[in-house]
């Protein structure tokens, strides 16, 4: 019994070491990539226009129908962009520097496209918001679209 326990100890500890060693092997110092920079710019534009709408929803900025229409329209256009030049295969997180794109973007391309379609729809609905409260209500749909895609297709912070 005693030696059995000892064996167990050794086994367990080395297993724990193996388990932690895995964490260290995760650095990515690969070449930077223009497609990654470009799609980050796409996302930054999406974030910027969401911020314009968010400020109105929170009452930090005054409601203005033309501004809402423009911001939502730009979001809509950004969501509709043809991604084939941006989301290039071989640019997943770990494959090139700075990328947080998950491999699922390519293994489940239809699912990824559906998430962009959801943002397209939510931004379309926002375009005709008639007051700040309507903008606030529409933010739920837009935020849900961002979250749903980031949850499944975006990797953890580098």
């Amino acid at each position: 019994m005693k030696s059995l326990k000892k064996q167990t100890l050794v086994l367990g500890l080395s297993a724990a070491l193996i388990a932690t060693a895995g964490y260290a092997a995760s650095h990515a110092a690969k070449s930077s990539n223009k497609a990654v920079a470009a799609r980050h710019a796409q996302m930054q534009m999406i974030g910027y226009h969401t911020g314009v709408l968010g400020a109105i929803a929170k009452g930090e900025a005054e409601f203005d129908a033309a501004t809402v229409k423009a911001a939502a329209g730009n979001l809509n256009a950004l969501a509709k962009m043809d991604g084939s030049t941006l989301w290039l295969e071989g640019t997943a997180q770990g494959e090139v520097d700075g990328s947080r794109a998950k491999a699922e973007i390519w293994t489940d391309a239809a699912g990824f496209a559906a998430k962009f379609a959801a943002l397209e729809k939510a931004s379309m609905e926002m375009m005709n918001a008639s007051d700040a409260a309507a903008v606030g209500a529409g933010m739920g749909g837009i935020g849900g679209a961002c979250k749903a895609c980031h949850e499944t297709y975006r990797g953890p912070k580098n």
Binding site: T20, G143, E151, P156
Partner: protein
């Protein structure tokens, strides 16, 4: 559909990987010390259940994240059929069915049995659960919340899918030895000790207890115990890629209202949007009253700043 299951698997794999070591500590500390901790058999007898309040405990506790069937979306997430696989170097663990089905799920369980499972990590048969089930956080759950949670879970759909047996080999399958792990790492005092305002106390209860923020945001030692000196200071992502962020004031400079907005909508102050496992946490926090999100924000501002 699959990616969700895979992602969870990766996150939890990190926790589960380390469990093997627990078997060992158990052996070291002696059999007698590792016997399961009893709980009053009359637990909850004097309390009246409020299932609606239980829905909020359920949301804060994030039970769906692990116990919904892999890939479930929308209303299907309320079906706690289990089956999510947590692969590890020691074998594969499966989240059990905890739907109200009397055979496959926990429909035939008593309230004290449920309380003992969730707050002590001990099964009705008196065996220790693996800490991939975050009972070390749920141990803080107040009796009334346990009673409400149990009542709420009985209103969810029953599902007959049997729980899968864990596929774990010797010595990691010796549940008795998990008692040693509990002795070492299941601390019953809060990390942020002492007396605080009502709001802070509520925030601490939610963050350290029900919503178990530390299980992801706090690094672990080699044996899988949380390093309380690095509370919420960020941790390697168990997937092996990237890090789970440091959310102490030493790193995160968001205002309280920024934090509250993030918990409600997932938007960061510069309109990025939460992703990964945090997206689901936000979906849960968004269901709570605003005062609860404010309480968690107040708590986060008060934890020790770690750079």
């Amino acid at each position: 559909m699959r990616p969700i299951a895979v992602r969870k698997t990766k996150l939890l794999r990190g926790l589960v990987k380390i469990l093997g070591a627990c078997a060992v500590i158990g052996a070291g500390l002696g059999w007698f010390l590792t016997a399961p901790d009893p709980l009053d058999p009359a637990f909850g007898a004097r309390l009246t259940a409020d299932p609606e309040a239980g829905a909020l405990v359920f949301a804060a506790g994030g039970c769906v994240s692990c116990h919904a069937a892999p890939g479930a979306e929308g209303d299907d997430k309320q079906v706690l059929a289990g089956g999510l696989a947590f692969a590890s170097d020691f074998g594969t663990f499966y989240a059990p069915n905890i739907s109200p089905d009397p055979n496959a799920g926990i429909g035939a369980w008593s309230l004290p049995g449920f309380a003992r499972a969730v707050t002590r990590g001990v099964s009705p048969e008196g065996q220790h659960y693996y800490p991939a089930f975050p009972y070390a956080a749920y141990q803080h759950m107040q009796d009334q919340d346990v009673v409400n949670l149990f009542a709420y879970m009985q209103t969810l759909p029953a599902d007959p899918t049997p729980s899968k047996a864990h596929d774990v080999g010797f010595p990691f399958n010796i549940r008795r030895s998990l008692g040693g792990w509990k002795l070492l790492f299941m601390k019953d005092e809060f990390v942020l000790s002492g007396n605080h305002s009502t709001e802070m106390t509520r925030g601490r209860y939610l963050a350290e207890g029900l919503a178990h923020c530390g299980e992801c945001h706090t690094p672990r030692n080699a044996l899988g115990g949380l390093d309380r000196s690095q509370w919420l200071a960020g941790a390697p992502n168990p997937s092996g890629k990237g890090r789970i962020p440091n959310i102490t004031p030493g790193k995160l400079d968001w205002s309280e209202s920024d934090l509250v907005a993030y918990f409600a909508t997932g938007f960061t102050p510069d309109y990025d949007s939460a992703g990964g496992e945090m997206a689901e946490v936000v979906s849960n926090l968004a269901q709570l009253p605003q005062s609860d999100r404010e309480a968690i924000a107040a708590y986060l501002k008060a934890v020790p700043a770690i750079p």
